[in-house]
């Protein structure tokens, strides 16, 4: 395998010297087939979508905290949906729906996995580019198209999709049931169908690249954990996304062509519909067959990034590399057989609920192993508190906090009373929302110099961004558990119709204030990010003293990544602070890391990891 890859690589190399073709603006910046440019395109598009998604959350947080108040800001952003500054209930549902959709798919799937898989897979395995640059380009542009359609749906007359991001039929199938299920829903489904195509093309490319294009010496057991995470993420995506596609297709059929896959016995708006024999529960199964693996599609790349950043900045090998790989594989496998825990009270057979409780609590085991291994990686380290490292530590913190409440939600008996309450909202925002965003931010801070030709982000602004975000995130989502355990259902436009919930009002205000602070400080990040692209200080070639191959590639982005031959690999990617045989100094005197492309030295022991 490796030898084959090498032959291929050498050919590539000759190709590069064969012809220095001129790049036009269009081929370099727009329809680029270079993985580094595509990763930047993914990142910028993802960030843009993220800004919209997060601003939506600001709007509905304001509504939840002060339901009786009139906000001019509502009128400005929502127009006819907020006459005199009073938010319309249907646009509230649209906001939570599109917020969820954008954050899960467009930011945390495409923005996170798309960005870093594209950037790091070729660079860290020692390849000149993805297996297919063309498919990679098509993948991005399909993602771009789906983003445009999703944004376009916001301007539809009857409003965008508003049946929740899970779009359960019949609500999502019947325009009579909610205005957003008209053209808005059609556009939502179209957008997601295109998104799935984009995701599949990307994932197949990642898989093929990791399997075939590793440089000489880069065995699977020498891969950095980032690559393992991206590789397995892509496999889960290929397995589960097509199922969502089929669900979307069947929903389109039900909506437009009169089939009854998900609909039966419906009386709405004064008439009986002809639909007979379908079941919404079937849709729930299909949806969550993707929906649950999806949260691991979101979190695994973040885990990979965190492992890598943490080892580098601890100046220590990641603790238990094999266990980390095994747990990624275990999580990936289990993630496809736990979807039913979203459906304990959907009306499916209670015995099925028991099975899913069992598999769900099993998945806590590899997750716990990962958390303990990260903590042990810090132990006796020499921690370099770069911004990326801070976000990695915070990732472990929120992953633990959010993961632990999963023990309650995964237990079918306990789920009965917290299902669909704010307890769930608090749980998944901490464990996948905030954690994955921390992974994304850690990745951005860490690999910014690689993405933007040696420029670095401002450290002080990074610290301000981190500390305010870390405090704010807990400030929003920790109190939210109380709201859920008080019995308040999610997706309520206002709680004022239930005097019983009156005493939750001040918790809502506290959460919203934390949300405003946290969202505001993201402006510091955006400023730092965009400013540093153009004016960031240029750092050294390998600013974090990392061992992985990407830091041996040229600072200046060239097609093919390495000016000379592709580096060969002689060791795993975690030789940090390794001592020589006499234990007098590091293997390379005065340097606490050994890059992967440095051959085995006479004064060191070879270790089998």
């Amino acid at each position: 395998m490796s030898a084959h890859a090498q032959v291929h690589a050498v050919e590539d190399h000759h190709d590069d010297h064969g012809h220095h073709h001129k790049e036009t603006f269009v081929t370099k910046y727009i329809f680029s087939q270079d993985h580094k440019m595509i990763s930047k395109q993914y990142l910028i598009t993802g960030l843009f979508m993220g800004i919209i998604g997060i601003l939506m959350s600001l709007l509905f947080r304001l509504q939840l905290a002060w339901p009786d108040h009139k906000f001019t800001i509502f009128e400005i952003f929502l127009g006819k949906w907020a006459p005199d500054g009073v938010m319309d209930p249907s646009i509230y549902l649209a906001l939570v729906t599109i917020h969820g959709t954008i954050m899960v798919f467009f930011v945390l799937t495409a923005g996170l996995s798309g960005t870093f898989s594209n950037l790091l897979i070729p660079l860290q395995i020692g390849a000149r580019d993805m297996a297919s640059g063309f498919l990679n380009m098509v993948s991005y542009w399909l993602f771009f198209l789906s983003s445009i359609i999703m944004l376009f749906s916001l301007f539809v007359e009857a409003g965008p999709a508003s049946a929740g991001w899970t779009i359960y039929p019949p609500l999502s199938a019947l325009p009579q049931a909610i205005p957003g299920s008209g053209a808005g829903m059609t556009l939502w489904l179209t957008s997601i169908a295109i998104f799935i195509a984009s995701s599949l093309l990307g994932s197949l490319n990642y898989i093929v690249t990791v399997i075939n294009l590793r440089t000489k010496g880069m065995s699977m057991t020498r891969l950095p954990l980032t690559i393992w995470a991206f590789f397995v993420t892509a496999i889960i995506g290929v397995v589960s996304f097509p199922v969502l596609f089929s669900a979307a297709l069947m929903l389109i059929m039900d909506r437009s062509f009169g089939t009854s896959f998900f609909l039966s016995d419906i009386y709405i708006a004064g008439e009986v519909l002809h639909h007979q024999g379908g079941s919404p529960v079937l849709f729930e199964h299909l949806f969550w067959f993707l929906g649950h693996p999806e949260v691991y599609i979101v979190i695994l790349p973040a885990m990979g990034i965190v492992s890598e950043v943490m080892a580098t900045n601890s100046r220590k090998p990641i603790f238990g590399y094999r266990a980390m790989v095994a747990s990624i594989l275990a999580i990936a496998f289990l993630s496809t057989i736990v979807w039913g825990h979203h459906m304990f009270i959907s009306g499916m057979n209670p015995f099925l609920g028991s099975v899913f409780t069992f598999t769900t609590l099993l998945i806590a085991i590899p997750s716990a192993v990962k958390a303990f291994n990260w903590i042990t990686t810090l132990w006796k380290g020499n921690l370099q508190m770069n911004t990326a490292m801070l976000f990695s530590i915070a990732f472990v913190s929120t992953f633990i906090t959010g993961g632990l409440t999963g023990i309650i939600l995964g237990d079918s008996a306990l789920d009965i009373n917290v299902h669909d309450t704010y307890f769930v909202v608090a749980h998944f925002h901490l464990v996948m929302g905030i954690s994955a965003l921390y992974g994304l931010l850690a990745g951005v801070y860490h690999w910014f110099p690689k993405m933007f030709q040696g420029r670095m982000m401002n450290k002080k602004l990074g610290y301000i961004h981190f500390w305010v975000t870390a405090i704010g995130a807990y400030g929003i989502f920790f109190p939210m558990h109380f709201v859920g355990m008080a019995g308040l259902p999610r997706r309520y436009y206002t709680n004022t119709n239930f005097p019983y919930f009156d005493d939750l009002a001040d918790i809502n205000v506290v959460m919203t204030i934390f949300a405003i602070i946290t969202i505001s400080v993201q402006v510091v990040f955006l400023y730092n990010f965009f400013h540093s692209i153009f004016y960031g200080k240029k750092g050294p070639k390998n600013p974090w003293n990392a061992t992985t191959l990407e830091w041996t590639s040229e600072i200046k982005h060239i097609h093919g990544n390495w000016d000379g031959p592709i580096p060969h690999v002689y060791r795993w990617s975690y030789d940090y602070s390794k001592l020589n045989k006499d234990e007098t100094d590091y293997v390379i005197p005065g340097q606490d890391f050994i890059p992967q492309n440095v051959p085995l030295q006479d004064n060191e022991d070879e270790m089998d990891h």
Binding site: I76, F77, S90, A163, Y168, P169, L171, L174, A177, L263, S264, D265, V272, G278, S279, R315, K316, G320, I345, S346, P350, S354, T357, L362, I365, A368, I375, W379, L383, Q384, N386, S397, I400, T401, I408, D411, S412, A413, H419, T421, N458, K459, I471, Y474, F478, F482, M485, A486, P489, Y492, N497, P499, Y500, D503, I507, Y535, G536, Y574, D592, H609
Partner: protein, 353 residues
Amino acid sequence: MTAFLVILVIILFGISVWQMNRIFQLAKVKPSTHSEIASDKDNNMNGYLMMGFLAFMYILTIVTFWLWGDVLLPESGSEHGARIDNLMLISMIVIFFVGILTQWLLHYFAFVYRGNKTKRATFYADNDKLEFIWTIIPVIVLAGLIIYGLFTWTDIMNVDKDDDPLVVELYAQQFNWKARYGGNDNTLGEANVRLIEGINQLGVDPADPNGQDDKVVTELHLPVGRKVLFKMRSQDVLHSAFMPHFRAQMNCVPGMITQFAFTPTITTVEMRQNDKVVEKVARINKIRTDKNIALTAAGQETLDPYEFDYLLLCNKICGVSHYNMQMKIIVESEEDYKAWLAEQPTLAEQLSK
């Protein structure tokens, strides 16, 4: 149009800030390189902040419990609910123990091992024994929770027909609830949305003899101490019948009948005298009185004082008025329940009118 102008202004403002910054940048002298990589000073500062953050998390936990510990649901009004609460308590103790411990380790290590040029990290890549320990401990703890949880779940979900439960249909539609009692025979008549006509809003089959004595109501009354088997239907979209005080919830699915059963153990009147509920109601009424002062000043309608009642809420997004789809539940003595039910007209009576 206004929206467009506002966006334009924001963009232009952003550009001007950017340009201004550019001028400042150009005016500034470039400092030495590497200044964006954490120095020992940064490591030190952030190490201490990590301990500060740990303190923040602990304080946040304590303060939130102190402030809002009393908003949580009162004691369960149903028999099985006590078991759920017990399991919840055990899980919470485990969670808090593990959470406090691991967060401490994480942040304490981040503080103690903060970087320093003179220090050297320990090359420590593996320890099979250690990893085995922290694989096996979660396995044991989770196995315990799973077993307890599954026994509880099975007991709740498997309804024993020998208990002779009271059969009640919960009927969901956008955006209200109806309940149908089986009448004297405690058997619900067949129903389908295709039979909905006029006053027969639940589509009960008029030809089914079991349906003749059914009673359709908009307020749910339950006798205390008797098992109630709810049969749930929905006529339009998914709804979820959520009765938080009874630790009960089940989705209502168009096209199928779902079910959930529980035994109410505390009457509404008794629950109103529960210490936690009395405190909560007093607090809510204080909030409402305070609001009323402002409302009166503004010349608007004032809020009624609040009295505790069990609630049935919709807990699955079902449309625009999802936030206000509720029904009152009254748990009362067997006699009161029978007296109330006797006053309700049967379906046959309603249809013959």
